[in-house]
Symmetry: C2
Subunit: 349 residues, 2 copies
DNA sequence: TGTTAGCACTCAGTAGCTTGGAGTGCTAAC
DNA sequence: GTTAGCACTCCAAGCTACTGAGTGCTAACA
């Protein structure tokens, strides 16, 4: 059977009506639309065809139709196609404040951004922290804080900074500390985690003499910083928004979804898989069963990759019911990406 | 009317039975208990008295009784009284791993601790980040990262460390940077936010000469660090646990509770008020209406103050239904406080 | 050949009714 | 002071009937 333009129009009309109401859509409702002024009977015939093609279904015999995953997929694909030509008509999100301020704390920015996205779309947002693959050590700094504490500041490429406070036996002489710092920076800067191998480590320890113990603890701190960069954090916002969509909260599902959002681990691996494929800055849409998280099989997820320059990047995902307003979500995400890009790729001309 | 010991026994029996089942408790159930072998009729007479005293109520005419806030209050007060004498019989929580490891990252420790508490009690946990009142600047460090970036590390008393990356016009000469760093540390260390007044600031700027602009930006960073210390973060864990208790999730209440937990602001002010009164390390129990958060009027909250030494302290709160197992929660919290204290107050003998 | 009107049919949801069980309060007897 | 007995109340579950929305099918129409 062929999917002629009238069938398409009816399918899209069903989808859009169902997006608004959340109720199955009947033939009468469609026949009242301006661009589909046929009798309900005609619409019913077409609907029977659409059902045969697997694009819509009836929840029960005497109900209207709702779209299937396949139906949504068709709709979204067309939408994304048209999107390329079209410019967003949405007003830009009010992130200007956020982005124009000096961005010393990227994480805070991301959390705020997630909040804005969540409140603006009424869906749930998740953001992975900035993430730099195969990162390298840029800079290492030692300073003694007080009798038995040593502050180690580790800076990675992409200006990811972590502090570690080590408790040590005795306060080292400032000159010695300076020497040690020089030694470490000299040998380690520019190296990735893999580059720092056992041979290098033992050579370092030898050169450090008395401080070989301290050196290995500092190296632990460095390793931990790398590890943290690998296991990037995930922020979520707007989790309670799922309560707006009864189809997600029926039964115990609310609890499962909230749990998934709270335990961010599973989300992390999932979101990792999600966008392996997508080319840079592309927006991807996952509908229902396409979502690689079990508790989200009734949801759709729209993801985008943000980039903070210098190879540092992460993901933003918007989670909502399958009847989410894809148009709006995609527009909003594109807008957000653009705003971010403007700020980060041209550093303050 | 007097509350004799049999009445008390019946009240406590009702409370404990209701804790387990969540169902109103009838006279037959009580009369089957070993220590209350009277006929149901006798129990009913006593129950009528307890109801008159406002300690229990019937949800509807022909139902069993459930405790009122006042009834819980009586029960909890007695429990806390006995607690003082008694030693916890609970096995210690498996935090040993957590605590015996070197604690370089306090926040991570707190988050993990919240998780352990939540999974162990099956209630929701909230923890305020460490919080040091009237903090002082301990140490300030400047290092140039690359052409236009300057890393400022600010350390407060209590070893609270924050990084700020400033974007500057030109890379300063290393010697000048050293001078500037020396000047700032010399003038500012040991001062609180209030001590750094306008006079001091203008004097500093004058001394800094060309760098007066930079100085004011560094001071901004310092101020922000103080501010962050004031607006301490709040971590929550186990929010989905509320779904275990139907009396909390009926209607839209689940959504409200989850929202409150996600928007941590309100929690913050509330938890601040909560424990103003309590003396150090005391455990406080808030039942129903006593909780100063509207959406939690159907809950009880048990709080404790933890101390990381050097005046740094914060709060832990456990949120559950009014029929929560107060005994277990209080024991668990005490145990946790003790374990924390052991680690932090005697720094590694 | 595509469109429409009409009709019988299905089914979810709701309201009303009945029934059973749990629990109470009260009274009278022990 | 305690207990047995009894009438009473009320929730919850199950049943029935009804309504309304929506369908599929057939036959007539343009």
């Amino acid at each position: 059977m062929e999917l002629d333009s009238r069938k398409k129009a009816i399918l899209y009309a069903i989808i859009e009506n169902y997006q608004e109401t959340g109720e199955p859509v009947g033939s009468r409702t469609i026949s009242k639309l301006d661009n589909l002024k046929f009798s309900p009977a005609t619409i019913r015939n077409e609907m029977a065809d659409l059902e045969e093609m697997g694009l819509i279904v009836q929840p029960h015999t005497s109900a209207g139709r709702i779209p299937t995953d396949k139906g949504y997929r068709l709709y979204v694909d067309r939408m994304l196609e048209e999107q390329k030509a079209r410019n967003s008509e949405l007003p830009a999100l009010p992130m200007n404040d956020l982005l124009s301020r000096r961005i010393d704390r990227v994480e805070e920015l991301l959390v705020k951004m997630a909040q804005i996205l969540a409140t603006n779309t009424n869906y749930t947002t998740m953001v992975t922290g900035p993430h730099y693959r195969k990162n390298k050590l840029k800079f290492l700094q030692l300073s003694s804080l007080e009798e038995e504490k040593l502050l180690v500041v580790v800076v990675l490429e992409g200006n990811i900074v972590k502090n570690h406070i080590l408790t040590i036996d005795e306060k080292p002489d400032p000159q010695e500390l300076l020497n040690l710092s020089f030694l470490l920076n000299n040998k380690l800067n520019g190296l990735s985690l893999e580059d720092i191998n056992l041979g290098l480590i033992s050579a370092l320890k030898e050169e450090a003499g008395n401080f070989s113990d301290l050196v290995s603890r500092i190296l632990d701190a460095v390793a931990e910083t790398f590890a943290q960069d690998e296991s990037y954090p995930i922020y979520t916002s707007g989790a309670p928004n799922i309560f707006r969509y009864p189809e997600l909260t029926g039964g115990d599902r609310a609890s499962e979804l909230i749990s998934t959002l709270e335990e961010k681990k599973e989300l992390g691996t999932a979101i990792g898989q999600l966008s392996e494929g997508g080319s840079k800055q592309d927006i991807q849409v996952f509908i229902g069963d396409e979502v690689p998280v079990d508790s989200m099989k009734d949801c759709s997820v729209v993801t985008a990759t943000y980039s903070l320059g210098e190879g540092v990047q992460g993901k933003i995902g918007i989670i909502g019911p399958k009847r989410m307003n894809y148009q709006k979500v995609v527009d909003t995400l594109k807008d957000t990406m653009n705003q971010l890009d403007k700020v980060f790729t041209k550093p303050e001309e």
